[in-house]
Symmetry: D2
Subunit: 240 residues, 4 copies
Amino acid sequence: MTDYGDLSALLVNCSIKADSAGSHTQRLIDRAAGIMRDEGVAVDTLYALDHRIAFGMEEDLGDTFGFTDEWPSIQDKIMAADILVLGSPIWLGVMSSVAALVIERMYAYSGHTNDKGQYLYYGKTAGCIVTGNEDGVKAVSRDVLYAMQHIGYTIPPQADCGWIGEIGPGASYGDPGEDGARPVGYESEFTNKNTTFMVWNLLHLARMLKDAGGIPAVGNTRAHWREVTNAADQTIEPVG
Amino acid sequence: MTDYGDLSALLVNCSIKADSAGSHTQRLIDRAAGIMRDEGVAVDTLYALDHRIAFGMEEDLGDTFGFTDEWPSIQDKIMAADILVLGSPIWLGVMSSVAALVIERMYAYSGHTNDKGQYLYYGKTAGCIVTGNEDGVKAVSRDVLYAMQHIGYTIPPQADCGWIGEIGPGASYGDPGEDGARPVGYESEFTNKNTTFMVWNLLHLARMLKDAGGIPAVGNTRAHWREVTNAADQTIEPVG
Amino acid sequence: MTDYGDLSALLVNCSIKADSAGSHTQRLIDRAAGIMRDEGVAVDTLYALDHRIAFGMEEDLGDTFGFTDEWPSIQDKIMAADILVLGSPIWLGVMSSVAALVIERMYAYSGHTNDKGQYLYYGKTAGCIVTGNEDGVKAVSRDVLYAMQHIGYTIPPQADCGWIGEIGPGASYGDPGEDGARPVGYESEFTNKNTTFMVWNLLHLARMLKDAGGIPAVGNTRAHWREVTNAADQTIEPVG
Amino acid sequence: MTDYGDLSALLVNCSIKADSAGSHTQRLIDRAAGIMRDEGVAVDTLYALDHRIAFGMEEDLGDTFGFTDEWPSIQDKIMAADILVLGSPIWLGVMSSVAALVIERMYAYSGHTNDKGQYLYYGKTAGCIVTGNEDGVKAVSRDVLYAMQHIGYTIPPQADCGWIGEIGPGASYGDPGEDGARPVGYESEFTNKNTTFMVWNLLHLARMLKDAGGIPAVGNTRAHWREVTNAADQTIEPVG
């Protein structure tokens, strides 16, 4: 049996609801977090709107907006975690404003490098959880996972999962079932399977990356990429 | 020095030009392929439109469309490669029809499993190369990389690269420079750096995955995911 | 009662199935076409894969690919129609390769101008129909409608409609219902309402545009935009 | 000469910068606003982050987040305007969190109907302005314009415009030019032309819609769509 006891994970809920109790996305986040906890991972979950997060492509906005920007402490948690999972609802087919805000603030740190000289998020893995009652799981995951790999995360296979109902308004994930039925979506074989796959693949890649001491610092550092085999040194004929 | 001599890579150009000689995207593909070759990887490149590829969510369309579907031999090459890179031009801000076609045909095989019971593309890594003269590198990469991770590929950090000029019509990547200047885009520090990062990260992850014998087959097979810690077995309170 | 008898519409099915009989998207296309016919519009439907369409950003590829490019006759139908509706299935969350191909070929003509000097598709309206059994109606519509407005079409309110089932594999639109139930999706209030709204809004805007003789040719022609109030002539302070 | 003196427009800047003075997007917004003003339109511009806007799919969040939600007064301005233009920067290839927030709050009102029984935003036109220094004008416009048409706006032809430089970091729109050159992007024929086209097409459609008293309320109201020719009443054979 592989031991995951030294791994840590952070799952961030980017719901736009002020009260986390009403978040449907949280139910699927909890499902994913539960697997990780059962496997011994140190799991932390965070509800973004429980914090005052300022807007801006800055690391710390301080009191710019009349409140104390709480992002820096969230960033600390993100940096401490081997695995990051962003959860987002779907509104008009795209990720929530809160998810966009979280990604912007993470991006503001992307100029920093780790002790190997790589971008800060190298050596970590990321996944995405999406719920809604209409349409857009793939569209949201696409935007979230793209952003994560762009700033340095490794994306394992099938790193997203979610639930939506038949097109149109209706019940959301985790709403009480009608006539004593199980809560909406809880029995979805597709959602449960994909959530399981996502979590295990995050664990597998995180294990692999941690054991390897991260990704080798060859060809992927701003300071030294020209010193190894590189794209600039290739001789390529022009068109025509 | 790490040896990459046992790795293989396939770079597929999804240009919509009938004649590959005029493909700008090919120039950046060649740049990425060159790095891999210099590092000893067995590299193959393929120009999709040199082949007759049928439409359909099928493995082999045979003579359905009045010509012999050549996809199955392309699929063989894809399955033989540890690393897959799709190159696409940008048209109206999205990937080319040929790129969409290639992805559809790969998807048609996604029901198959490897000898561990995982989806077919597990244990491989994928990246994306995009050129255009206007706008859309990230949009195209997003769609391509999402599809690749969805069917089983691992996406390393910064797995996309590309070139576009200032907004509006103008020269494309690899067009001869004006007044004796170097071909368009060839001196782009940003493009050369990102291409280098992409290739090395593909190599690093491919090395890691090959040495590990792929991704462990725990929690990610259709047949056995319910037998390990999984999402269905979590006890989650409904909303409200 | 408004008379729509002088309006014409073309609905193009961009399914990737060789045999149109199996197209689920066609069922929803037929529903939209039916409304238009009932209102006296001259309606034509076209199944793209019944034609041999070449790849390329060209108006007529001739025999480049070893068959006669049939696009030019399709383009004639598009130009003859006041209303264009593109129908697409969803594969991996995006529009089909055939839809991308159709859009590319339309785009190849966008350099032409109408007799007012505007881009060719000015004065026409466009909509989008999407079906799948999983997820992505909005993502597909977004790409299709964006492309249409970009090349000159006017997009009325709520110009897209579609059907998908609950997340995961399952029955598709128009599949026979179980136990004698109505075909899948046919009773969807949401889909029927949105399809109705789309069609009527296409009719309303097409009526308005036709009665007005199209969009006035002021400020939107390549030849004369600098002669009217324009963006280049504004005096704007730089940043900082 | 057509008179636009009775038309009103609102241009909303969704920059994530606390200080509007540094917004590059504002420069292009001002260019578009200038054309409208020159044509007699009553133009208002609004910098979203000058206001405290709460998160949530609600019309008025009151003091939920410890500050007074200022959205309702912004909504009043949106409802008073015949033309709405959203301006957004690009971050990681997508629209800003502030743009997503603005769209969410507008969406929260979409259940309301106008005095004809249509969704609230019917009869109005919308456009989109995007700037960045890298890539993503089309991707951002696609998401913004899709949302606008989905909630009821009419999208005229070529309703988006923007500016980006050659791929990679660099100067942004409106930055002072080097060596006494004009500010960055101000001379872009492409950007100036597209901005002009966008504004004039917004004017043309707004004029047309206002003169017609909006879009006829036939086939597009929740209360009465089943009483006219509609999708539910079509007889469509099932598949197979």
